[in-house]
Amino acid sequence: MIASVAVVGHQNNPLYLQSFTNANDALKLHHIVHCSLDVIDERVNNPKRSVSTLNESYLGLLYPTESYKVYGYLSNTKAKFLVVTTDLDVKDADIRSFFRRFHAAYVDAVSNPFHVPEKKIVSRTFAQRVSGIVKAFAAGTNG
């Protein structure tokens, strides 16, 4: 079950936040996303022994906490995509394909000439596409 998705710009400004659970924990989601940004920065700026991670866009599991996991993905233009999920076991391939579709929807939203860069994404089409991708992901992992 995907709890929320978020897109953060390259100056760590939030571009899109959407939660898919029924509770009103938007604040908690903001907080989780904010903490995950630190983990992303640490992974990117600190070239560890595994140099291959420098070239990968998909950052994988950022950190697991008590009831959810956060996955990260970094594009070439330093746009960060974050997914908070409450699933216990999620296949890596599923998350990767989710991020690919998410990135495609983001690129289409940003190509809108009326979209101002570094401002929030207000496109309804983008919101609908993201909801569709999340639903397809949930159906894929359940069925």
Binding site: H10, L54, N55, E56, S57, L74, S75, N76, T77, K78, A79, H103, A104, Y106, V107, V110, S111, P113, P117
Partner: protein, 152 residues
């Protein structure tokens, strides 16, 4: 589009027209680069970014690659295109061979046209995290060269 900006909107202020055209190119480059770098792994350094611009980006935009790339390894790159697609059909006015260097209005029109690809390159590089200044030189059509100066 360029002639609309050059002649109608800013007819009396060609510098403003140039600035506006370059800004439009900046936004276009900014958005295009997001689309074209989607599937690629991340870049390691500036040289890789410039090489991507010369090869893949130019290929997508103009169906050919940059013919020559020079650098001084201190943040300046010169991209040379021997047959710039957007300038191949420009007519050069043969009667304007004055020796006072003005060369008639054809070079002004060419310069206005060149601001757009300069803006595209600048937008693409700045979206990849490299602030820079781009200028174009087209003294010998259709050979065209773009000079990229990285601000560090």
């Amino acid at each position: 589009m360029v002639s609309a900006y050059g002649r109608r909107f800013y007819a009396t202020k060609p510098e403003l027209a140039a600035h506006r055209i370059e800004a439009i190119g900046y936004q276009v480059g900014h958005q295009l680069i997001e689309r074209y770098t989607m599937e690629r792994p991340r870049f390691n350094d500036h040289l890789e970014v410039i090489k991507f611009i010369c090869k893949d980006f130019w290929q997508e935009l103009f169906k050919k690659q940059i013919d020559n790339l020079k650098t001084n390894h201190k943040g300046t790159f010169v991209l040379q295109d021997n047959n710039f697609r957007w300038l191949t059909r420009i007519s050069i006015d043969p009667s304007s061979d004055n020796n006072d260097g003005s060369q008639g209005s054809s070079s002004e029109a060419t310069n206005l046209l060149l601001y757009f690809p300069c803006g595209i390159i600048r937008g693409a590089l700045s979206n990849l995290g490299i602030p820079c200044a781009v200028s174009a030189d087209s003294s010998n059509l259709p050979f065209c060269s773009f000079m990229v100066r990285i601000k560090a």
